[in-house]
Amino acid sequence: MNASTPIHLSELELDALTELVNLGISQAAGDLAMMVRQEVVLSVPRVALVGRDEAIHVLGGAERKDLVAVHQVFEGDIIGRALLIFPEAKSLELVRAVVGGDLSFEDIIELEQEALSETGNVILNGCLGTIANELERSLKISLPEVLHGQSADLFELDPPPESGDTVMLIYIHFAVRERDIDGHIAMLLDMPSLAVLKDLLTAYIRRVAGDVQT
């Protein structure tokens, strides 16, 4: 395939991908709820495939917000990186929501890194693991790493793997202990991986819905 030919997912393929992400996020919500012993509301209204520039714009906004991200690399039939991204201003809020209790500011700061990477690990692994299982493939997922920066920085991470130009952008809403936090999951895939993903989705659709036009 010509590297400049963009790969499009059909409506049903995108539906299937959204459904897989939903499955993964729902399972992650259950895991998080056990971890924090509270109900966790984690919803996924939208999944979109966008170019890298658009993703940078959506995440950073016009004001070039400071962001915090939990980053994991995955390798298998599909290669790429996954990022759970929140505005930096919400980072401590997220830590408070997950850790709970009346912690001092110093304690919160100390726990920030650990709580972020643990939360990110549960959400990203839940998502990637479920997608891989349902697509009947296995993925090797790296340890979580917490990054701080503006959105353009988060999309300029050193290879390997080649991060590619297509971003699967997932808006998520996270609520626990009366705190509401909006964030995104971004999955960066290279072109061959996107082509593989499309084939795997086609096979998945055939498995769950029978022979249909995609």
Partner: protein
């Protein structure tokens, strides 16, 4: 017994998957499909499905909210909430509304068990 079943899921693929199982299990049943809760409520104004399968995580009203509305307007409807979210809180809220909880991804075997229970309950009415 030929029944009418309502399938509500914002994912078209998820609905297709349920329809595939239903065609195998109960090909003679009447199937109604809705892509969100509002559409489901409109559909049930003029029809009276025996069974409803509701996805939990939907934009707008979620499956539990929809179950509450359907429980009010159609007290005898057999309702199942389908979700990958197995938090006790969600399961408990479903049970409080006499709705069954079915785990996603929904298998044909799990669906068959629920439908058998639903048919038995309907026959006892």
């Amino acid at each position: 017994m030929s029944l009418t079943i309502l399938i509500v899921d914002d994912s078209k693929l998820a609905r297709m998957s349920v329809v595939k199982s239903l065609k195998a299990l109960h090909p003679d049943w009447t199937r109604l499909e809705a892509g969100n809760a509002e559409e489901a409520l409109r559909l049930t104004q003029n029809s009276n499905p025996d069974i409803a399968l509701l996805d939990f995580n939907m934009p707008g009203l979620d499956g539990l909210d929809l179950a509450a509305e359907l429980r009010d307007s159609h007290p005898r409807m057999m309702i199942a909430l389908i979700s990958a979210n197995r938090q006790q809180d969600v399961v408990a809220r479903a049970e409080a509304m006499q709705a069954s909880f079915l785990a996603k991804p929904l298998t044909e075997a799990a669906l068959a068990v629920f439908l058998t229970k639903a048919v038995d309950a309907r026959e006892k009415d």
